[in-house]
């Protein structure tokens, strides 16, 4: 049996990707299971979805805690403590990462020891579909890794997407982009072990005094620690030569994370800016441009 786990962000299409993959596997003659796990709906929050594919009956239920293949649809999730995409990955398993980096660079950047495949599917999606929605592309990559045939993938895309997308042209562009990704990925053979559900470790937590272990109700306004800046796909960048200090961007930021510097010019707190780009849209003089985010290089610039 092949166990896959998708990690994406709300709105990117992790749930649909696992669904398309499940259908493709089924149409290709396998037994398949797919299901997502998410809490309340929030665009940008970490989302997980699972797929199981097998020639035999699938009697296993529940979350996939030890996947053979992990599909990371958003690079920033690799360093997100809420998500930890690599946890439980089987030895000899495969990690797909959506990044402009090469597999070797990705391994070094994130300290991954297993096999890594990379492809900048966000760029492909923006170029070919016009929106950073990755469901069909991630499904195609996973289908290739799992060894599903192209015909089955096409049929599955048609079946699943036609229920969501009413526009024929958009659906076709999705399929086209998906097949492009399917052909761009060179699969690595997966050395899976059939053994599953090894005895899970019980973690014992040492006793702590109340001061350490109970909630601190007085620490107010501490959400900036969450650093939601890694939700961005595009970042706003200010051109101070054009800026008239009109304060529109400061007023319009839903998070309130645009502030003024000593000279009275606005700047954003990139650690927490989610990249909604209302500021760029509302700026009356067009002094804010949107720049494609590339997370691996910008940590220092953010400071």
């Amino acid at each position: 049996m092949l166990r896959l786990r998708f990690h994406g962000r709300g709105g990117q299409g992790a749930k649909v990707a696992s669904r398309v993959l499940g259908s493709a596997a089924f149409l290709d003659g396998y037994n398949a299971q797919d299901f997502p796990l998410y809490g309340a709906e929030r665009r940008g929050a970490p989302i997980t979805a699972f797929t199981r594919i097998s020639r035999d009956d699938i009697l296993e239920r529940g979350l996939v805690s030890q996947p053979d293949v992990v599909v990371v649809m958003d690079e920033t999730l690799l360093s997100d403590p809420q998500s930890t995409p690599l946890s439980g990955l089987k030895k000899g398993g495969v990690v797909f990462v959506n990044t402009p980096l090469t597999p070797l660079e990705t391994k070094e950047e994130y300290g991954i020891e297993d096999h890594v495949i990379t492809l900048d599917i966000t760029k492909i999606s923006l170029d070919m579909i016009g929106k950073p929605v990755l469901s069909s592309l991630a499904a195609a990559v996973a289908a290739k890794v799992a060894g599903i045939g192209e015909k089955a993938l096409r049929d599955a895309l048609e079946k699943e997407l036609s229920g969501i997308i009413s526009e024929r042209e958009l659906l076709d562009r999705n399929t086209e982009a998906a097949i492009y990704c399917y052909n761009a990925v060179v699969p690595i053979s997966i050395e899976t072990t059939e053994k599953f559900r090894e005895k899970e470790n019980v973690i014992s937590i040492p006793f702590e005094t109340a001061l350490v272990s109970s909630p601190s109700i007085l620490s107010k306004g501490n959400t900036p620690l969450r650093r939601t800046g890694n939700w961005r796909i595009f970042r706003p960048v200010w051109d101070y030569d054009a800026c008239t200090k009109c304060m529109t961007c400061v007023a319009r930021c839903p998070e309130g994370c645009i502030q003024l510097n000593e000279d009275g010019y606005p700047y954003t707190d990139y650690a927490n800016c989610k990249g909604c780009l209302i500021c760029a849209e509302e700026c009356p003089v067009g002094a804010i441009s949107k720049v494609r985010e590339s997370h691996s290089q910008t940590e220092e610039e953010d400071q």
């Binding site: 709300g10 709105g11 309340a40 709906e41 929030r42 665009r43 940008g44 929050a45 009413s166 526009e167 909630p215 601190s216 620490s219 107010k220 306004g221 501490n222 959400t223 900036p224 620690l225 969450r226 650093r227 939601t228 939700w231 009109c246 304060m247 529109t248 007023a251 319009r252 930021c253 839903p254 998070e255 309130g256 994370c257 707190d269 927490n272 800016c273 989610k274 990249g275 909604c276 780009l277 209302i278 760029a280 849209e281 509302e282």
Partner: protein, 311 residues
């Protein structure tokens, strides 16, 4: 009172009572409204939050607020507010709390709570003349659980539970509940509709409300990027369009007397607003549903005609 009114966004108070890093979606119109409201209300408040999208703002161990926050079930935020108000009043009366340290009690609820589940408890609170603020962020559906139909969902919209299909091509067949009029028939001291696209209007309404003791109610129409289906950067544009097309009238009511605070000089066609959202896309493709579009425009025109404000 008038002399204190602000005139432009440059005069918005600089204090931020809500920190960034919340779990709300990028481009959330409700968050923008809340940020303005908290600027107006200041730091010394208690938020009583009914279950909804904004429950997610405060998740242990994180809180974006500088003030206290109490979570209640969907149907009983006004009842929670009554408890907090009573507790504060009793503490002050017994001399255990300095009147200087009194707090404003603020209910924060989505449209699912305000229009549907908590309508009776809100009615009760207004009836008892509870001294509190009520802010409803109305994104016209149950937003954080999959965008299901609520009492606030407008006619013709696609929601999770009213998908347009062969038999019912328009989506939702029900008209949006008129919460403003329901509340207004209680004759509360202060009631207003606001929009995140008009922060100056919003701030001044909160300022005006301050002078009244009793329920002070605000309904804000807010764009929801994932639910309505548009790019997050268009949030403010859409909020503005809903006012400019006449769909969301900005008005206030003092002891039951209604007055409009902003009337567009020239009303834009409702289509301009509908066209920009995925949840109305079935009204245009594969073929235009003329009748539905006409009836939506008719409904808006009727409203303004009745109020004798149609130019």
């Amino acid at each position: 009172m008038d002399s204190e009114n602000i005139r432009s966004i440059k005069e918005l108070p600089s204090e931020e009572n809500m920190q960034p890093g919340t779990a709300a979606c990028a481009g959330c119109g409700g968050l923008l409204t809340l940020r303005y409201c908290l600027k107006a209300l200041g730091e010394n408040i208690v938020i009583v939050n009914a279950a909804g999208c904004f429950t997610l703002l405060t998740i242990y161990p994180f809180s974006p607020f500088r003030n206290s926050w109490l979570y209640t079930a969907m149907a009983c935020a006004p009842a929670g507010a009554q408890g907090v108000r009573d507790a504060l009043d009793i503490l002050i009366k017994k001399g255990k709390l300095d009147p200087e340290e009194n707090l404003k009690v603020v209910v924060l609820a989505g449209d699912g709570s305000a229009y549907d589940m908590a309508l009776s408890s809100t009615s009760g609170a207004i009836y008892r003349n509870l001294d509190f603020y009520y802010i409803c962020y109305d994104n016209e559906a149950y937003g954080n659980t999959g965008f299901q139909h609520s009492g606030a969902s407008p006619f013709g919209s696609r929601t999770g539970t009213t998908p347009p299909g062969e038999k019912v091509p328009v989506g939702s067949q029900l008209q949006k509940k008129n919460l403003f009029d329901i509340w207004n028939s209680h004759k509360p001291p202060y009631l207003a509709t606001v929009s995140p696209a008009y922060p100056v209007d919003l701030m001044n309404k909160f300022k005006k409300a301050e002078q009244f003791k009793g329920p002070k109610l605000f309904i804000s129409h807010i764009p929801c990027p994932p639910g309505w289906g548009f790019d997050p950067s268009q949030s403010v544009k859409l909020a503005k369009l809903s006012v400019e097309t006449g769909l969301w009238p900005l008005k206030e009511s003092i002891h039951g007397e209604v007055e409009h605070t902003f009337v567009p000089k020239k009303f834009k066609p409702v289509e301009d607003y509908l066209k920009k959202q995925e949840r109305f896309s079935h009204l245009f493709k594969p073929e235009r549903q003329e009748e539905a579009l006409k009836s939506i425009q008719e409904m808006v025109d009727d409203y303004w005609r009745k109020n004798k404000l149609l130019p």
